[in-house]
Amino acid sequence: MTRRRPFRTASIAVVWLWLGLFALLPNLGLLLVTFLERGESDFVSLVFTWDNYARLADPVFVRILGESLWLAAASTLVCLLIGYPFAYAVATARRGLRPWLLLLVVIPFWTNSLIRTYALIIILKSQGIASNVLMALGLVSEPVSFMYGEFAVFTGLTYTLLPFMILPLYASIEKLDKRLLDAAKDLGASSLRAFWHVTLPLTLPGIVAGCMLVFLPSLGCFYIPEILGGAKSMLIGNFIKNQFLVARDWPLGAAASTIMTALLVLMIIGYWLSSRRVALRERKGADTGAATAGRTPDGGHDMTHGADGARRARGRA
C-alpha cells in the first residue's frame, strides 16, 4: 500500500467534500432541529426537547406512514413487473439499437411532469379518451371515469417512476453473460429454470437498485396521488410538506422526515446483513453453494457465481 495513488486520493476527497457539504452537513442540521422546539417568531427556538418524537407516536402518524409505505411498495412492484421484461428485451436487442431504445424510454420524461399528469387526466376523465375508446369498441355502454381512485393513482405513479426502474435494470441485465444461459440450456435446463437459477440471481443487484430508486422517491411523492387520486388520504410526503409550510412546525416535520429516513436506512442495512450472511454461507459450502447475487462490498466477491449458477441449473434439470 505504499504506492501513491493520486486518482484514488482525489476521488475520495472530491466525493467526501461534496457529500459532506451538501448531504451530511444539512442532514445533521436537520437532525438537530428535531430536538428543538417550534419557534414563535422564528421557525425554531433553541430549546431541547424529545417532544417531537413523542408527538409522532400517534396512531394518526402511523396510519399516514403505513398508507405511504403500502402505496410506494405497490407501485414499486407494478414498475418491476413491467420494467423487468421490458429492460430485458431492450438489453437483449441488437447491440447498436440498445442506446436508442433506452433513450426513447427517457425522452417522454423531459416533458414537465405536471403537463404529463394533465394529459393523463384528459385520457382518464369521464368522457375522456380512454372512456371514448372503450365505448367505440363496445366494451362499455356508458361513459366511464377512471379518475380519483386507485387505478388513476397507480397509473400516474407507474408512469412517472418507470424509467427509474428500467434504467438500472438495463444497466445490470446488459452485462449478463449470455454464454451462461446457453451453458445452462446445453446442460438441459428449461428456459424458465435457466431464468430462475441464472438470470434472476445475476441481475438481482439491478433489481435491488431499481426498486430502491422507485421505492425511496415514491415515498416522498404526493403530487400525483393528490391530483389523480383526489387527495382523500394523507401521505407522508404531504404530511412533512404540511408541517414545514402550512402548520409551520419545522421540528415536527424534521422529526417525521428523520423517522422515515431511519426506517428506510434500517431496511437497507437489514438487506445488507442478510445478503452478507448468504454470501458467507455460500463461501463456506462452495460445493452445493449457488451464489445468489445482490452482493454489496461488504458481502465479498465470489468469482464462481456464474459457473455455480449454471451448475445448479444443471443439477436440478
Binding site: I12, V15, I115, R116, G128, P168, A209, M212
Partner: protein, 259 residues
Amino acid sequence: MTLRLRTLRTWLVWLVYAFLYVPILVVIVYSFNDARYTTEWKGFTLKWYSALAANGPLVDAALNSLSVATLAATIATVLGTLAAICIRRYRFPGRKVLHGCIYVLTVSPDIVMGISLLIFFIAMGVQLGFWTLLAAHVTLALPFVTVTVLARLAEFDEQLIEAARDLGASEWRAFRHVLLPLAAPAVAAGWLLSFTLSMDDVLVSFFVTGPTFEVLPLRVYSMVRLGVKPDINALSAVMFTLTIVLVLLAQTLTRTRRK
C-alpha cells in the same frame, strides 16, 4: 427463445412505448386545440405557438432549465460514478457514512432538502441563483447515478483491476481502461436519470434559486392556481419534437460513421 416468447416480447416493448408516448401525443394534439381553459376539443389553431413566441420569460425559463439540467447531469454523473467506485473499491475512513449519505439523499423529501440547502447557502453567504441551483441539482441527482453504477459493478471482478495494476497501470489508467468501459451503460443510464430529475424538480429548485433565475418547472407549477395555459403545451410539443429530431440526427450520423 421460442417464437411465442419472442412475439410476446415485441408486444410488450410496443405496449410500454405506447404507454409512455400516448400522453405526450395528447399534449401535442392539444397544443393545437382552440380552447383557453377546457380539455374539450374546440377546433384547430396555431395561436398557442404565436403566444409562445411572444412569451419571452417562458422560453427563457425553458432554456435555463436545459442548461442547468445538462450541466447538473454531467457533474452528477462524474461525481456519482466516482462515489460508486470509492464505495465499491476503496477502504477509507467514513466509507460507510458516505454510502449511508447516498441513501439518505434518495429518501430525503424534496421540501426537506430544499429548505436545508437554502439555510446552508444563506449561512455560507452565497448569492442565490444559477450556482446554488446547480449545486442543489447535482446533489439531488448524484445518488441516482451512484446506485445505478453500484448495481452494475456488483459482481465486478476485482482481480481484473489488480492484474492491470500489477502490470504497472496507474489507478487512473486502470479506471479509464478497465472500470469505465465496464460501467459505461450504467454511467449513461445515470446521466439520463439525472437529466430527467433536474428537468422536473420543483420544490428543491424553488428554495435554492434566486430572484433573477427562473426554471421551467417553477413557472409551470405556479400556474396551477390560475390554470395552466395552453402555450405550455406548445412549448412541450416544440421541445419534444426538437429532441426527437436531434436523436434521429445523431442516430443517422453514428450509422453513417460506422459505415
